[in-house]
Symmetry: D3
Subunit: 266 residues, 6 copies
């Protein structure tokens, strides 16, 4: 079964706070009565049937290192071959402990990251847990099979060097194709930073980076994945910048589509 | 000549009110001075020349059944072979009496419905006139030639069964093609629920369902229709959710493009 | 080197004011810390290195004719073969004096105009400097090599006649292709009216005209230009209609992509 | 102990939907971390200590009559001399069954209603359960001790007649004084329609009626009440019209101040 | 009888456009169904009974001088001892021709101006019809009995000199009292610039000047006027800056209260 | 002369980021052309004449301790008996180093703090520089003459104890009077947290705490201060939550009124 966990933490953000408020807002979309529980391909993503909601993690301390360990421990204790985990962030820094916990369960874990940014900074503001660095930290472990990034449109020189050093496969928006779908391997973990979408589709994010995917394109990409997906997260939804809950609803829809993928590959 | 009628009714909505406020807001876009009266293909959609504005229907009672009959009577008294009707809703429930009136004038009427939802519920909240059910009601009459739905992305099991039972042709967003354009037949009535668009393009709607058409795609589809169009409506515009009149302007633009189509095929 | 000049003037606007507030808002996007200075193709668009910021023009009088001369004189004194100018408007009327100044430096100057409107009115409200007329004025000089308009979707009869009279090449949205890229000639001046984008991507504009380009499409078009670009402007950004600085960020991103083009072709 | 119950129902609203979404939004304000749990007079309004949260009522049917009975039964089963109930609506129609249940427990119950409207319509749209009529229905029972309305600014002839017929004490905004505080009697039930506030302070309401109380005035009035308060509700908060959760936070603050009053008088 | 006239003109505005869109938006508030037609003191302000709606003035030319004459002629032809006029602007420049027309009908006309600004500029941007100058122009005629300004909070040296020169009675916000009510004389014309209110109460204005009246205070002041009121206008409502039609509703409410005053003193 | 310094730092905020973006937004209000440079009491607050703008501090590191020292050093080097400093924050944590620098210049410095919160936490999230603690830190120095807090409405038990321990004079909103004005002593430093205002007047703040002062009340209080004011700051303006720059304009207006006070008492 899939477990759903909210991780309301955003103190590793470099620009704005807000993503800590995301989990309850996304969940609320399922209850408002404006849409139904079905994924586009016909799965009723019903609590109790398809997933179990573990609620939100409550932090003992807001210290980044302590938070890292608490998230990793919680994830480690939750996941198993039969129990897959879906997380609502939080800023993107939460993906570091989440995926780090998965490495111990899955040899050669592959990561598919939808993101406007590569998040590969060696050092950002002196904070190793910064939301600008999670994938640098993960690649440094040497335990990641492949890292595929899709939707990136903000590479600077440093990040290009990091990407080369770590052998990251990047599909930049400036030469976007769906070719990467043919090169994915399982077991696959999907980390979805909402800012991979153009801000027109998801205004509720901290870092507006124009020129992104449309929601339609992103859903079609998700439908195009046919390797086993063993975990996923949706991060960086920031309710304080949202308009009419527009990005909350996008997040909820993406949750249903990704959950169907995780459910299908059990 | 085309007649324009506003139908300010939204009490059959299941989630939010607001579409009753739509007609005057859409009309205002023609007067604000921020755009001109021309359709993209060069028709000046001028009141008095291309269409006559009948104003808004005023309801004697807000009871759903009484409203149904009042709309149907008004439409029946307005339309004829030479007088075509364009309606601004209101929620989608108004299309039931509008189209029902057309059935009596046109044998084998065909319907093209642009919509995020199939609106085929057999029963929703016990209200047979619900905005979730108009096309179930219409198909039950047995008098509809074909019903073609485009842009749907919310089918649950019940609606899939209803669609199969009624023989509805659905182009879902998840496998969108423009192929349906080759299979349309006249006489054609077009019912356009604004939520067929992605909420990014038309935020002023009650049910945000991400992953829809872009405005550009929708206009291009309209331009691709080459069978006789004998009536049309634009429904579910909800000013209380709109931003800077963005969706009001989209509605007005779609009105011009559809009016050109209705005018061309007289 | 590229020079950056803000032209905070909007009194030639026919509908709303606001674009005069644009220059400082766009510049601020570079400093907020939510994005970096790199163009998508890897140029660090850094002040002092790639461009020099001349600040905003300060007007002695708000009279349209006096403003025309002040802008043209300022631009004439700034540009030379080695000094290219990038301007942030202001409404589109400012492009008339800017380009007029360039005609004296470049024989056979070619113009690429991204715009929802052709801005070719012979007369609008009796104001020859109206933001609806700059390209009529420029074509009347007889000194423009070619004028290519892309993204137009509001042509009325008068503007079609004007376009024919002046031999303007128009790629309308209704039959959009990227074919025009193969027919561009240098030296090229690019005038980018932000409303070429669909309002979903750039809500901060005065004239919402649905059915435009996506930001992604526009950036890809810019990347497709391979003739020498000797000047550019971004106009009609209106902060009073913007949401969360969404269009300010789009403007800043387009500035970086266009600056890279201007820098590459020196 | 105080019990907290959410009543997510708004189908008796005459103009807009939305209040059904209120209860989870108000509760969320306690968790966001932007404010603390203390009332202004120093009570820590902590769940488990001061109140028990019963969650939201879930409706078997959306039929107004059935809803009336379900709410009344639930309230009847919850309240006792030692168990006081605080409800988050929902539109104002929910106060009818809530207070009706209290009448059976308290002889001569007195009601203090903060509201822009008197809600005394004998008949509105033919719906006896309309949110325009709850206090007409309650007064018709003959079991209410006194009804005191404060903040009213929309009386029409019919409502003035109803008020006179039922002997309602009204402090209209046009001649506002705090005099009514000297004439209150216990046991007192407080029904607080958020639109008693000027829309500037609580934009998230359906019926904007300018000229209302400031939040400060309303809190000071609450602090001025010194008779035993045995129950209370906050109704008509409409998240779909709110800005930055402004009215959600007002609702949460008023909840703390009213809870302190209910706690103090046990 | 009272006549209602909309004057959709805003080209004399120095900062933003938008007030030209005001008249239909304010009228719409009467039809939306969220409030009733009654003034707070019990008059049903019904079209046909209390006032006749003349619709909006349509301008032959947008030239300021021509507009001045067209407005003045229209007003002159409409008003008489028995026919009083209520105008919805438009920016404040429209009050100059409106009041100028009244001077010919009423000797010794007195003006009560609610405004954040004194609008007494001798010259603003070289436009004698500027919305910064109408009351300078009117005082220069020598035919105004008294000019009383209430709510002003932006006086610079020049405007203080102008006020002294013309003998204007100003109640500034910094030393606000209701004393001016005791010194009013009839016949009185009331010109209400919506920005007299604090922007919190009326966000839909061009010039946000904090520290203004509350809507409640303003209504109470209107209720305190007991001299004959022979005409009135509400100006500077700018829908492009409004939020949820908040200021539109304030304008409509003020219309009802002022209309009651004009009706009472016939 | 007065010096103006922007301090764009907000990493000591406990809930949201954003105040770092404040200084350029507030300055822009002086240039937009929607208001003039005069204080209500007639001082033209002109750059170069009344104040010199030092621009924004640029931080070498974002580490809280390093930032503390950099701000304190900058302020120490700027202020003297003849040079008074006005700062735009940033979050309220910046007032700690600013005032700490003033203590060395002024013996027995008195502080007037306008604030919804007392900011007296001994420890918040383990960060001694937290924006919840600056006045605890300052009082611990033992060098503050008096600390007067006005507008507070969020005291919990811990903060009440801290206030008692440090002998803070608090005028809570729940028993607001202007009495504190009679007990102020110079030299006075004024620290103005924008959230002292009700969120209706200043929506652009991180912590919405309803029940605050109106802008009018606050300006009148400032006008009521008649002891020498030697420095001031406006903090916690958060542009990411603002609507139409409403709170930016409030901040700018308060700057003018406070600058007049600082100028008058030189």
């Amino acid at each position: 079964m899939i477990h759903l966990l909210g991780i309301p933490y955003d103190k590793n953000s470099s620009y704005l706070r807000g993503p800590a408020l995301a989990p309850p807002r996304i969940r609320q979309m399922a209850r408002d009565g404006s849409t139904n529980l079905f994924s586009e391909r016909g799965l009723e993503v019903k609590e109790g049937k398809i997933y179990r909601d573990l609620g939100d993690l409550s932090f003992e301390s807001s210290n980044p290192e302590s938070v890292f360990h608490q998230i990793r421990d919680k994830v480690s204790n939750t996941i198993s071959e039969n129990n897959r985990l879906f997380c609502f962030g939080g800023d993107h820094s939460v993906s570091y402990p989440i995926i780090d916990a998965h490495i111990n369960l899955y040899d050669n874990l592959n990561i598919l990251q939808f993101d406007a940014h590569s998040d590969l900074y060696d050092d950002f503001d002196g904070n190793p847990y910064s939301h600008a660095s999670p994938f640098a930290r993960l690649m440094e472990t040497g335990k990641i099979g492949t890292l595929t990034q899709v939707g990136v449109r903000t590479l600077n020189n440093h990040q290009r060097e990091q990407a080369e050093k770590f052998g990251v496969n990047i599909t930049e928006m400036k030469d976007f194709t769906t070719d990467f779908l043919n090169h994915l391997n399982g077991p696959l973990y999907i980390s979805l930073d909402l800012d991979v979408l153009d801000p027109a589709f998801a205004p509720g994010i901290s870092h507006h980076e124009p020129g992104g995917l449309s929601t339609r394109q992103l859903i079609d990409l998700i439908h195009g994945i046919d390797v086993p997906v063993i975990g996923a997260d949706i991060v960086e939804y920031n309710p304080t910048r949202d308009i009419n809950d527009m990005a909350a609803m996008v997040s909820y829809k993406l949750f249903k589509e990704l959950a169907e993928l995780m459910n299908r590959n059990v």
